[in-house]
Every structure is written in C-alpha cells, then in structure tokens.
Amino acid sequence: MRHVFAIASRELQSLFVSPVAYSVMTLFAVLAGFFFLSGVLQFQEYVIRLQAFQMTEQLGELNLNDHVIAPFLHVMSVVMLFLIPGITMGLFAAEKSNGTQELLLTSPITIWELVLGKFLAAAAFVALLVALLAVFPALLFLFGDPEIGKTLAGLGALLLVGLVYAAIGAFASSVTQSQLIAFFLAFVLLLVLWMLGFLADLGAADGAMASDTVGNLLRWLSTAEHFESMVMGLVETKDLVYFAVLTMGFLVLTKTTVESVRWR
C-alpha cells in the first residue's frame, strides 16, 4: 500500500507540474460554465413561457433536478470522454518512453501496486473534476430547491463513470509508448462504449442483429445506459455492479499488459 501511495503522489505531482492538468481543468471548467449557464437560461425561458400560457400542470412537473442538473451532468459526462484520456495518456506510456519503466519493474514492487498507484492518481483527478463541477448545482441550492439526494446521485454517477474512463485510459496507456496513440485509443474505446446501446438500437432496427441477446449484451455494456438512469437519481445495484465490473476489468487488463512487457 505504501508503494501505491508513493506512485500515485508522484504521478499527481508530475501531472500538476506539466500544463496538462491545468489545461484539462480549465477546459472542463469553461465548458461546464457554458453548459450550465445555457441550461439555466433555457430553463428560465421555458418557465416564463409556461407561465405566459398558464400551463400550471406542466409548470408543476418542471424541476431543477430533472431539467437542469441531470442534462448538465449528462453533457459533462460526454465532455469527460475526451478530457480524461488527456489525463491518463501518460500514465504508462510516459514511463516507457522515459526509460523509467526499467526503474519501476526492477524495484521491489508488484505490478498490482504499480497499476493501482497509477489508477489512484487518475481517480483522484477525476474526483477533483467532479468536485469542481459540484459547485454549479450547489449554486442552484441558493436560488431554488433541488433535491439533495438526487443531485448527489447524479454527481456520484459522474464520478463512477469517470472512474471507468480512468481505468480504460490507463489500459490504453499501457499498450503503447506514445502518449498520442494512448489518447486516441482511449477516446475511441470510450466513444464506442458510450454508443454501444445506440448501435444496438440501430442494429435492431436494421434487423441485422443476430439475436436479442447480442443486442441486450451490447446495451448492457454501454456506459450511457447505466449512467442515464443513475443521473436521474435512480441508484440501482445493477448499475453500481456494472461500473465496478468495468473498472476492475480494465484494471486487470492493464495489469496483464504491463506484466507482458516481461514476457516478450
């Protein structure tokens, strides 16, 4: 465990020495501000319009959670699709191009300690991003009365999906020594995973899908499917299991690829 923390803290330090961490955070904050503001303005406009037409029923159904916070978190999860790979691309690739891999693999540490240390650093960064993001919904508590439970579930969903991204990014970084390739590989993997449900629907409509089981499997694998129900405040065991399985699965894959350097 000591080694895990040593590796994680070194990784975070070098992340914050380079411009990468700051660029990602700035871009994330700017995009978050933009989407949040436009979401709130849209909501306001909608409320005014409903009031003008005296549609009290619809007005009663409107709430900040479902109509501002959830869509906002949703769009930010898409933003994370291409920002997290920027953070994870160097995790292993940089060690390889640096030659420091030789130090790590000849030190008395296990591959698991190495992989978990790297993942922990990326996870801490994801947590930081989500904490940054939490400021925006928090503002709504000053002016309105969103449900706190639902809001927290949404932020939790974003954190969990971010951890999945981090594990996938770590894996992408472990298969190459080029950070650029690691970035694009992670991005493509994440994008495909995100859209699997959509692809399954497309396949079903075409009738090209071999069977319903395949379609259901694809839909189950898709991050979007699980994220969407949780971001609406529905915390279900099956979604939690999904996030845990995917994160751990990719960490195991990462461990295997790092180890395989030894067996070439």
């Binding site: 000591r2 080694h3 040593a6 590796i7 070194r10 330090q13 070098s14 020495v17 380079s18 640096n98 030659g99 420091t100 891999q101 030789e102 130090l103 790590l104 693999l105 000849t106 030190s107 008395p108 540490i109 296990t110 030894r262 067996w263």
Partner: protein
C-alpha cells in the same frame, strides 16, 4: 552473491544470449566487457528482473529471481543503460521517491537521500530539476538512484558513459569506495573503456555474440598480454571459428 546458470535469451530468431553461467562472490567487482551487441545489457536486465530469460535461472543474494523476485530486487542497485529519470522532478525529490520504492524505512529515508547526494557529488544541485541538469549530472543522479538504498549488489550498465574525464575519475573512485576493502558489496559493471576495468575491477568477464568467452581474474589475464590484446583475441576468435564452421 550473484548466481547465473545457463541464461539464454532469444528475441524472435535472434539469439542475444546463449547459455551464460557465472557466479560472483560477495565483495567481488567484476568488469563486464564485450563489443556492441554482445549481450551485456541483456544479461544485466535478466539479473535485475526486467527481462525474463528464455532459459536458465539466476539468484541474487540467495533469492531466486522468479520465486522470490521482490527480495532479489530489493538487494540490487541498478543503473540501466539510460538512467531512468523523471525530468520534471527535483534531484532530492526523485531520490526520496526511489528510496520509497526500494523500501528504505521512513525514518532512514532522508539520511539515505543525503548520503546518496553526498557520495555522488550532487549536494549543490539537490533542489534543481533533473531535466535542467547536464548529461554528466544526470548520469550521477542515475548512480545516486542505484545506491540510495545501500544495496549489497550493484549492477551498473556503462556507469561512466557521457562523463568528462574528471567526473569519470570521481565516479570510478566512488565505485571503488562503494566496493572498497572490507565492504562486502558486490559490483558488476559493464563498460567499453578497458582502463576503467583495470582501475576498478579484479575480475573480468568478456562476452561476445551472446556467449561468455573469457572469465578470469585480471591478474591472470595480464600475464598473457595487455587487456586490450586479450579483448581483441577473445572477441575475434569466435568470429573466425564461426566462419570456418559455415
């Protein structure tokens, strides 16, 4: 202290190492010689656990590198061919990190770092960022990294490459002092500089095309001619016999 038995390494069709065996006793300083591509780095990488051999076994300080890898690696200070440095870290930050990886207990860590800085002449640059150091100083940081946990076995892959003559002398005397009389530290170092071997080592292993061709005390070799002659004979003979064979 170091036991290598029948080590072989193949990269695809290329045989980089063929049936190499040797053992090094505690306190011995062994010079590892051979032309480019002879297999020196490959042997060192196998001993340090970075690469698995295709065949053969090795043990460090009594710990098998497969069945007890962590203990074996803990006993080794290793300077790879290119020093494994993080350019964005400070010299002392880096050494403290390596000390953590090598299981130096927390209470002894800052002393270990100070002593490594001191022994490698890095006191003046301890707070500097590694990426901003000259090549020679980076090499010294690499060496400091290899000794920070005071290992009983040191494996140094061309430790003096890229250094100026004065630094070479200093590093040589440093290695000499690390392995000095009375200390039971075992050192294997590879180099292309023959006088370096004569200055530091008491025993020489010469590799050629993946095979061990000479393994003898320096004194003994000197009786049959200069080290340069021995080297030339050992590394050309192989080629001649191979040509005859084919």
């Amino acid at each position: 202290m170091i036991e290598a038995r029948g080590l072989s390494k193949r990269y695809g069709d290329l045989v980089a190492l063929h049936d190499v065996s040797f053992s090094v006793q505690p306190g011995e300083v062994v010079g590892f010689l051979g032309p480019n591509g002879a297999g020196k780095t490959t042997t060192m990488r196998i001993l340090t656990g970075f690469l698995p051999p295709t065949d053969g076994v090795a043990a460090i300080d009594g710990h098998d590198i497969f069945s007890d890898p962590l203990a074996a690696r803990r006993a080794i200070g290793y300077l790879p061919e290119s020093p494994p440095l993080y350019p964005e870290m400070s010299v002392e930050g880096y050494l403290a990190y390596v000390a953590k990886l090598k299981d130096v207990p927390r209470s002894a860590r800052s002393k270990a770092v100070d002593s490594a800085l001191d022994r490698c002449g890095l006191g003046d640059v301890r707070r500097r960022v590694i990426g901003a150091l000259s090549k020679g100083y980076r090499q010294r940081v690499g060496l400091a990294q290899a000794i920070v946990h005071d290992p009983p076995v040191m494996i140094l892959d061309e430790p003096t490459v890229g250094l100026d003559p004065i630094q070479i002398r200093e590093i040589r005397s440093l290695i000499g002092s690390l392995a000095g009389e009375g200390s039971a530290r075992t050192v294997i170092l590879s180099t292309h500089i023959l006088p370096e071997v004569e200055a530091i080592c008491r025993r020489v292993i010469i590799m050629n095309r993946g095979r061990k061709v000479v393994d003898a005390p320096l004194d003994e070799l000197r009786q049959t001619g200069s080290l340069e002659e021995v080297f030339a004979r050992a590394t050309t003979r192989e080629i001649v016999t191979e040509e005859v064979a084919s």
